[in-house]
């Protein structure tokens, strides 16, 4: 699971629905990347789609300067999704060896949302997939709102940075909100990571 190569490159698509807060995942990876002196570009969706529509963020990390703000099709190393159907929307970008890590809990705000089991079956067809019930894990550790960090934790083994820098980033990101919130988010991150590592 270690992605050590001579050229370090991590192209990550973050997926979800507007309002689910994928930008806090992006901010965490961003802070960690800066700590590691990596080059990065991160494109986000603002404006109309933020109102309950599908949203994504392209996150590109490298030890060389990054040219395009957008990840080329078929080159993403990782899709991190906080919603199962949304994880499938970006398959044309996922490379053959890429990992798909998604929360299993659907966000249903459209009348024709497909049956969940069919969605999960499609996800299981991807060679490298991790489906995690992040909501349940977040509840277990007593922080229902930290589902995002559980998903990020589950994806962390596929992000080419030391785990500790993600922890540092969480500390910096949530510092303003107090020690208790920091601890909950660190626990969530770690619980997600253990799920994948088992």
């Amino acid at each position: 699971m270690n992605n050590e190569k001579c050229v370090m490159k991590n192209d990550i698509i973050l997926a979800g629905v507007g309002g689910q807060g994928i930008l806090s995942i992006a901010a965490t990876i961003g802070l960690a990347a800066v700590e590691n002196n990596l080059f990065l570009k991160q494109s986000e969706v603002h404006g109309m789609s933020q109102r309950g529509g599908d949203v994504q963020s392209h996150f590109r990390l490298s030890d060389k300067p990054v040219a395009s703000d957008l990840i080329p099709h078929g080159k993403a190393d990782l899709i991190i999704s906080v919603e199962p159907m949304e994880s499938l929307r970006y398959l044309p970008w996922l490379s053959k060896e890429g990992w798909l890590v998604t929360n299993s809990n659907p966000f249903i705000n459209i009348p024709d949302y497909p049956p969940l089991e069919e969605i999960l079956n499609e996800i299981r067809k991807i060679r490298n997939n991790i489906i995690i019930d992040a909501d349940a894990i977040a509840k277990q550790i007593g922080s229902a709102r930290s589902g995002n960090m559980v998903v990020l934790g589950a994806a962390s083994p596929f992000i080419s940075m030391p785990y500790q820098s993600l922890e540092n980033a969480v500390r910096r990101l949530f510092n303003r909100k107090g020690e208790e919130i920091v601890e909950f988010n660190l626990k969530a991150l770690s619980a997600g990571r253990s799920f994948t590592k088992v």
């Binding site: 629905v17 507007g18 309002g19 961003g30 800066v34 080059f39 990065l40 570009k41 991160q42 494109s43 986000e44 969706v45 603002h46 404006g47 109309m48 789609s49 933020q50 109102r51 309950g52 529509g53 599908d54 392209h58 990054v66 040219a67 395009s68 703000d69 957008l70 990840i71 080329p72 099709h73 078929g74 080159k75 993403a76 159907m85 949304e86 499938l88 929307r89 398959l91 044309p92 970008w93 996922l94 490379s95 053959k96 890429g98 705000n109 459209i110 024709d112 949302y113 497909p114 069919e118 969605i119 499609e122 991807i126």
Partner: protein, 536 residues
């Protein structure tokens, strides 16, 4: 130099502050909004008390910026591409008056219409107005260009256009910034007291001077340093890449070393000498540009009988929509390793009203009150409430430009449609709806204007609305009869009462305004969070 992680919008804002900006003017619009927001939260801007309030619309913003420039200080104005249409009158004429303090106009285009009603290309406005136009390829270049733009503006006494597109505006990268911001200009009136007076005799002279300065400006180093030619051995093809398209080209070249001569263009007017160099060397030219085929049309001309050109006009690249690395790879004839197809079961997820949104309650009232008359009579406008066009509401029949709901309702009423209804948001109403309302009042048009007032500019993220607390006074001031200015609160418990009020006003054959007011639930929630953290 210090390194910062900035959106393209923020890089522009930071650069302006660092270049000695004294006034920032803007109306919110995706993808330009974060420029003003960055300056509003900037420590330097607050210490220096740089002007950083939202304007009522892009025209008032542009004119106020021109006024700041008149007084000798550096000003910047930012808007989305369609905002430049609203500001076009002052923009075009500001090129003829010229400027005093440096003036930079940022227009953020939205190709593929992520959050817009068209994908017009602002580079045409630069040419139209005879002003230089910068088109950064990345965040760092955007930062550096602002310094050059201000210098160029002051040297040639002209406004300078900065054209960006969505992907640059809303993508973050590390930007190296100067350590200490430059000092601001002092107040200094124009040396010629008639510089800004465009009486025909003076305007003719100034226009001639503008045309000749546009010709000489293309050789200025501040333009030419952003346009560069890299020769290479393979001569079957030469590539011209403009703005962010250069990044998509680089993405593909890094991977495979294409080995063709490349001309990068990030500043206009066109560098004719460099274009000659590449066209003389190469058999064919591929043009990569985000937006309209602006350069391509210029190169082809009307006759199109010169060198073979590949681009958007011959179908090598799709005619509309934004570029991406795959489109560029295809144009280069490279293999794109697409991943799996999106499974068919994945459904569209269009944007929708937030749970508990007041606009939704307003539309429920509207639909019921209009039932006796049938559909096809609701003109609407630009904002979150435009989502009323989608199921399950299907409530509106137009969304054209800021303020058009009011005036289109008037025109349809003139044609005999009754009732003729407009639905407009509070911020859009003060942006461009008020003048239309005056038309309606002056000829007593039988229209009902529903102002769906959420006390904010919602779609762009909740910026201060110029209308807040003023709508009632504005309407009565314009001349709406007080008995036909009705205030309702769009809550489910008021539904029956609200339907009754709307029905009454639809039946009235004169101007009526129904203000349906309830705070945006997003801004309300944010306010609660801020209030509670202030208490801690």
């Amino acid at each position: 130099m210090k390194e910062l992680l900035l959106l393209g919008d923020e890089a522009i804002a930071k650069a302006a502050v660092d270049a000695g900006l004294s006034g920032m003017y803007a109306y919110p619009g995706t993808p330009s909004t974060e420029i003003m927001e960055y300056i509003q939260s900037s420590k330097t801007a607050s210490e220096r008390n740089i002007h950083r309030e939202w304007s009522t619309n892009e025209k008032t913003a542009m004119e106020a910026a021109l006024g700041m420039s008149y007084a000798g200080k550096r000003a910047m104005v930012a808007m989305k591409h369609v905002g430049l249409n609203v500001a076009a009158d002052s923009f075009i004429n500001s090129a003829i008056t010229g400027v005093n303090g440096g003036l930079v106009v940022v227009s953020a285009d939205d190709p593929s219409m992520h959050s817009s009603q068209n994908e017009q290309d602002s580079r045409f406005y630069g040419k139209f107005a005879f002003v230089p136009c910068f088109e950064p390829s990345d965040q760092q270049e955007a930062y550096s260009m602002i310094f050059d733009a201000f210098e160029l503006s002051e040297k040639y006494k002209i406004p300078v256009l900065m054209r960006i597109t969505t992907r640059l505006a809303h993508s973050r990268a590390i930007v190296k910034a100067v350590n200490e911001p430059y000092p601001e200009n002092n107040l200094k009136l124009p040396s010629d007291p008639l510089q800004f007076v465009l009486l025909p005799a003076m305007a003719r002279k100034k226009y001639r001077a503008l045309i000749s300065s546009y010709e000489s400006i293309r050789y200025d180093a501040r333009i030419s340093r952003y346009n560069s030619f890299n020769d290479a051995k393979k001569r079957e093809l030469g590539i011209i890449a403009c703005g962010i398209a250069y990044d998509y080209l680089q993405e593909n070249i890094i991977e495979s070393s294409v080995g063709y001569p490349v001309l990068k263009i990030s500043a206009y007017p066109f560098p004719k000498d460099l274009i000659m160099e590449i066209t003389e060397r190469c058999k064919e030219i591929l043009i990569l540009e985000e937006g309209y085929p602006f350069l391509e049309e210029g190169l082809r001309g009307i006759l199109d009988n010169g060198i073979k050109i590949l681009g958007r006009l011959d179908g090598t690249i799709q005619r509309d929509g934004e570029l991406n690395p795959a489109i560029v790879a295809n144009a280069l004839g490279m293999h794109v390793p697409y991943g799996k197809k999106v499974p068919e079961l994945v459904k569209m997820r269009p944007p929708s009203f937030c749970k508990g949104c007041g606009h939704a309650d307003t539309f429920n009232v509207l639909l019921e009150a209009l039932k006796p008359y049938g559909g096809g009579r609701v003109f609407s406008d630009i904002g979150c409430y435009t989502l009323g066009a989608l199921p399950p509401f299907n409530a509106i029949n137009s969304c054209v430009d800021m303020g058009a709901s009011v005036t289109m309702a008037i025109g349809a009423a003139d044609a005999g449609l009754f009732p003729s209804v407009a639905v407009i948001g509070d911020s859009t109403f003060t942006h461009s709806g008020m003048t239309g309302l005056l038309d309606a009042v002056n000829k007593n048009s039988p229209v009902t204007i529903i102002i769906s007032d959420n006390s904010t500019t919602g779609m762009t993220g909740g910026q201060r609305s110029q209308a807040t607390g003023r709508i009632e006074q504005i309407c009565t001031g314009i001349g709406v009869a007080p008995e036909h200015l009705r205030m309702i609160v769009p809550l489910r418990k008021n539904h029956e009462e609200n339907v009754r009020i709307m029905k009454e006003e639809f039946a009235y054959r004169g101007v009526s305004v129904v203000v349906s007011a309830r705070e945006c639930i997003q801004t309300a929630a944010r306010r609660k969070r801020t209030d509670s953290s202030d208490e801690q």
